[in-house]
């Protein structure tokens, strides 16, 4: 028999309000993604759709230590980061649908969500390309004497790109307040880290550049919160960059076009990893710790599913962008119409 665990040590430093928030945000992302998948299957979303299901603890844990005026920037699997940062799920869903009320007026789509009002600096489809951008934002903050921090999410797939290494060097050299948060879900599309990286312990690259670096269980929202909390505190106080490798896993395929149990990983592996479901684990912990009761959890679930239903209804009701919008936002004031 395992020794009984003292209840408070299950969720150190967490009160009911925080538990509710963390669980609610993870659920919001999960349900958003599930609905997006449905809409994609119905043909309402075109092109590609990359779901964040399984990785929710990273975005939610990290964002929970940020201030509203801190920045987040991400790659193309960014719905979770954008939601966690506080964007309106209705406008996000409308963006995925390519509708006029979308965050980017329906012109960005799933991979290019931007929300200035919550300092979310976008999704980026080109792998690795946003890492130096994060460094630039960090530079600007420091230059202006601000104390905000940039959190830059990226996948293990970006690590072999030159821009990863260039960015590590720059933020270390110039001491920039950027927290690079690698979501290591072990695959870049169908290529495992073992087949792509000479050094699969990604956090160790940070050491080479003299950047405080660590690895964290990305399925544990509180562990992420702590690790990112430490890094953000250093960045804010002393403009110290960080590299954090979150060990996580995507439960679905790379995109909706890639079936979950595709050729590059086994069904058993996926099933095993699903035992680490961050939402299931956290819910069990807060219930066991007596922080929330079953009724509280049901209420959170109800609220989340109402918000997502609203988001879908909003997106469905939003018209397509008018044809004239093709020619807007290309230059300041020059019409490029043919």
């Amino acid at each position: 028999m395992a020794k009984p665990v003292p209840r408070e040590s299950l969720v150190p430093g967490v009160d009911a309000g925080l538990a509710r928030r963390l669980l609610g945000e993870m659920l919001l992302i999960r349900r958003f993604e599930e609905k997006a998948a449905e809409a994609y299957t119905l043909g309402k979303i075109g092109g590609f759709l990359h779901l964040y299901i399984g990785e929710e603890a990273v975005a939610v844990g990290a964002t929970s230590v940020l201030r509203p005026d801190d920045f987040a920037i991400s790659a193309y699997r960014e719905h979770g980061h954008c939601l966690a940062k506080g964007a309106d799920p209705r406008r996000m869903m409308a963006e995925l649908y390519g509708r006029r009320d979308g965050l980017s007026k329906g012109k960005g789509g799933s991979m290019h969500l931007f929300d200035r009002s919550v300092n979310f600096l976008g999704g980026h489809a080109i792998v690795g390309s946003h890492l130096p951008v994060a460094a630039g934002v960090g530079f600007a903050i420091k230059y202006q004497g601000g104390d905000q921090v940039v959190v830059c999410y990226f996948g293990d797939g970006a690590v072999p790109q030159g821009e990863f290494h260039e960015s590590m060097n720059l933020v270390a050299l110039w001491k920039l307040p950027v927290v690079y948060l690698c979501e290591n879900n072990r695959y870049a599309m169908g290529t495992s880290t073992e087949r792509a990286l000479a050094q699969t312990e990604i956090w160790k690259f940070g050491q080479t550049y003299g950047i405080p670096s660590e690895r964290v269980d990305g399925m544990d929202v509180l562990a992420v919160r702590e690790a990112v909390g430490r890094a953000v505190a250093r960045a804010r106080a002393a403009s110290t960059p960080a590299l954090i490798e979150a060990d996580t896993y995507r439960f679905r395929g790379h995109s909706m076009r890639d079936p979950a149990g595709a050729v590059y990983r086994t069904r058993e592996e996926v099933e095993r990893e699903k035992q680490r479901d961050p939402i299931v684990l956290f819910r069990a912990r807060v219930l066991a710790a007596g922080l929330l009761a079953e009724d509280d959890v049901r209420a959170i679930e109800k609220d989340v599913s109402d918000r997502i239903d609203e988001a879908v209804a909003f997106a469905d009701a939003s018209p397509e962008p008018p044809a004239e919008w093709l020619f807007t936002d290309i230059y300041t004031d020059i019409s490029t119409e043919a």
Partner: protein, 326 residues
């Protein structure tokens, strides 16, 4: 003669060329185990092994730079970039290395390599996954820029590109991958690079197209024939650079009228060069200004508006009518 779609036709060419020449190898992201984003390299790794069909890390500059080195040594790499929109990560390697080694080394070194990339609309995706960027490569001396228009030309041109001693940028229209099937001969065949084809003969107007736009041009020609009684010649460029000016000029010298169709944005696009070449070679035969039907000069349209941006039959027909009525 089996009927193949373009994916299968390209896959066939890769199989044949790898079997034919042990120096040919394939490299790119997910080309091996996964068989490529669009499955063009399907089964190659099983057949030829992971020494010749190489899953690379996600590093486009690394892929092309490495391939340049392989080519300098005498291998004949075929690189896959998953979408043409990702190639800016390796653009420097292409324009500064692949394209220039021959001239830089006064012919002592050259890069026999092919860089395959899907391009253009057709998958309701965004920006990098939908754009057409042939103009960037066509502008670079030392590169050849090839775009097949269907399964048969795809198989023949890919084989020719692989055997060509110069670096070839090989664009594959996503819209064509799973579109119509065509008869593809059992025997391996090639088509000469730098040569356009007359896809349909006519005497009143020349439509010039390539890649996925060939279908659009052919359909427009049908409409013009049935509704206007106009006899329209359609040229399939196949190679964008070096441009087959002789075929262009001969056709327009005959018809006196020309409309160019492409998916790339208009300004400084291939249509401009084509129009200038026609002016140079067939000025006195021209009855009307050369028109262009292209994507607009906008960064991207969003998938909801992809159809509004990529040229379609009505736009081509309208431009042709204006040209005919000029």
């Amino acid at each position: 003669m089996p009927k193949l779609n373009m994916v299968k036709a390209l896959n066939t060419a890769l199989f044949e060329e790898m079997a034919r020449d042990p120096d040919v190898l394939v490299l790119g992201e997910d080309v091996g185990v996964d068989g490529g984003v669009f499955r063009v390299t399907d089964d190659l790794q099983r057949k030829f092994g992971s020494q010749r069909v190489i899953d690379s890390p996600l590093a486009e500059a690394g892929i092309i730079g490495t391939a340049v080195g392989m080519a300098l040594y005498g291998l004949k790499p075929i690189c896959e970039i998953q979408f043409s929109g990702f190639a800016f990560q390796c653009f420097h390697q292409i324009e500064n290395h692949a394209a220039r080694y021959r001239s830089r080394s006064q012919g002592r070194f050259h890069c026999q390599m092919v860089i395959r990339m899907p391009y253009g609309g057709g998958v309701r995706a965004l920006e990098h996954h939908t754009e057409s960027e042939e103009q960037f490569y066509a502008h670079i001396p030392g590169l050849k820029m090839v775009i097949p228009s269907g399964p048969r030309t795809a198989r023949a041109l890919l084989a020719a590109a692989i055997r060509d001693p110069d670096p070839v940028i090989f664009f594959e229209a996503k819209a064509l991958y799973h579109a119509a099937k065509e008869d593809v001969p059992d025997e391996s065949e090639t088509l000469p690079l730098g040569r356009a084809q007359v896809a349909r003969e006519g005497g009143d107007l020349t439509l010039i197209a390539y890649g996925a736009m060939l279908r659009v041009a052919l359909e427009a020609a049908d409409v013009l024939q049935t509704e206007d009684g106009a006899s329209v010649e359609v040229l399939d460029l196949l190679t964008i650079s070096p441009l087959d000016r002789a075929t262009l000029v001969a056709s327009v010298a005959k018809t006196g009228r020309a409309v160019v169709v492409h998916e790339a944005p208009r300004s400084f696009g291939p249509g401009a060069e084509i129009a200038a070449s026609i002016m140079d070679g067939a000025f006195l035969s021209l009855e009307a200004p050369v028109r262009r039907v292209t994507a607009y000069d906008v960064a991207f349209a969003g998938f909801a508006r992809e159809k509004a941006t990529v040229p379609d039959v009505p736009r081509v027909v309208a431009a042709a009518r204006e040209t005919l009525a000029f």
